[in-house]
Amino acid sequence: MQAFLEIFDIYLLEAVINGILLGGVLALLALGLNLIFGVIDVTWICYAELVMIGMYGMYFLVSTYHVPYWAAAPLCILLVAGVGALLHLVVIQPLLSAPPINQLLATGGVLFFLQSLATVCFGIDFRNLGIQLPVLGVGEMNFSYARLLAFGAALVGISAVYVFMNRTYTGTAIRAIAQDRHIMPLMGVDARRIYIITSAIGGGLAGLASCLLVLQYDVHPFVGLSFGPITFLICVLGGLGNFFGGFVAAFVFAEIISLGGLFSDLEWGYVLAFGFFILMMFIRPGGLLARRS
């Protein structure tokens, strides 16, 4: 009995730590989606499909063109940042004053458009980079370097956005425009430019996530489904547009997934996480950190 408990504790600790590592990447994605929602007031339902594009970008750069991983990653971040800006220009800008449901449906259309396009272009094969990072053994626990790298890079990315938002005038304008869209031009700010920059940052965060996730997951046209719904639910749980709430909710979700997976299959973690989400919608519909009314 004693021995069983010790082993169990080790697994438990390993799961808790893996949950934290997973939470980093989810927090990165949640920040990107929250940024777009908080600033432009539009939900990019197709956000995880930008991650899919980035993962394909990484795959082709690294596997087909033999660009080293460290050089491909920044290229990929720029690529997806560009896709984010393009998404804004082509789809969102013409719909800025349309009813929210139309914006939602339009980005939903982009989701299926990109999935289908990827299927046509790349087929439904599962592809991977073929890069195997070693595993870090601590005592009897094992942590993959891919996850450690993902966690570290995600935190760096989040911090970089935080510094940008608080230390630069463009960042301040981004925070401000979220509060009053109509007054900004009268302070000399080109609102369209601010929106494009915000969209590019949102895309860039998805690009960073794709560089990290491509080390852990195979690329296929539907890979976005593994991250899209969960990112969206994390944002809702944290309060849509609430950056800090999204950050906290990402770790709550990641822990439920990781610990839930410990007791049975990994999929049970997701079942519990989504169940928890539904329950929370009854208890705290405004999000985890919402003030009680």
């Binding site: 005038y169 401000a176 509060q179 009053d180 009268l186 609102a191």
Partner: protein
């Protein structure tokens, strides 16, 4: 400095501003008055680019600015305040003003933004401390913040939408004195919109009266306040204004 020619704004079949022309000379304070709904706010919106004009020309410093995007007009040197202050409540007072200072001027520069924010805040008498929040400000304080934001954009012409309705008499006089100080010390030309005549008449060099979207009078304060058409417009429509006419005449 500003030359407006045949300015027209129609909303569907309704003509809010009908062929209004006027000039503003450098260093002048022009009062723009008229009853509620007379079209003076629409004129402001056309001048600042918030609304595109249906017809007419607005030349600022010899350059046509009619129909330009609002941020371009601000960058060209036309600042604006709002009747209802709209600060960013989640930013500090200093951030609000520095943001206007950074983006309002044609060439964005951090040091210039910082300097102009400090100067503008000192000018209107708000704390230049970097962390003071907007929440502590009352109605008069919010008006001052609004002015500081506009001044920080480095305007040559200031469009001041200063409905002083929410203020008591001494605060009104302070606000009027402030506008005069801004003109005298910073050399900024001002157009001042107001529907209460009394306090405005003490400060402005010239007055233009708008009614039903048309200019009905223009001239020195004492000329305009004895103009029968102006008295007719204000009589009965706004008791306070009528009283103000009488006051201004004295």
């Amino acid at each position: 400095m500003l030359a407006v020619e045949g300015l027209v704004k129609r909303f569907g079949g309704f003509t809010a501003v009908n062929k209004v022309s006027f000039d503003v000379a450098k260093g002048e304070i022009l009062g723009l008055i008229g009853p509620n709904g007379s079209g003076k706010s629409t004129i402001f919106n056309l001048l600042s680019g918030t609304l595109p004009p249906s017809a007419g020309s607005i030349r600022f410093d010899g350059r046509e600015i009619a129909g330009l995007a609002p941020h371009r007009i601000i960058n060209a040197g036309v600042g604006r305040t709002f009747q209802i202050p709209r600060p960013f409540r989640r930013l500090s007072i200093f951030e609000n003003v520095a943001l206007a200072g950074y983006f309002g001027q044609d060439r964005h520069s951090r040091t210039k933004a910082y300097d102009s924010a400090e100067r503008a805040l000192a000018m209107v008498g708000l704390p230049t401390d970097r962390h003071a929040t907007v929440d502590g400000l009352g109605a008069a304080g919010l008006k001052k913040l609004e002015l500081a934001k506009a001044i920080a954009t480095g305007p040559k012409l200031l469009l001041a939408d200063e409905s002083l309705g929410g203020l008591d008499e001494s605060e009104m006089d302070q606000a009027a004195a402030m506008l005069r100080k801004i003109r005298d010390e910073l050399g900024i030309t001002i157009i001042w919109v107001e529907h209460i005549m009394g306090v405005l008449m003490k400060v402005v060099d010239r007055v233009m009266v708008i009614d039903h979207g048309e200019k009905i009078a223009e001239g020195l304060p004492h000329e305009v306040s004895s103009d029968p058409r102006v008295i007719e417009v204000y009589l009965g429509t706004d008791a306070e204004a009528t009283q103000a006419v009488a006051q201004a005449r004295r």
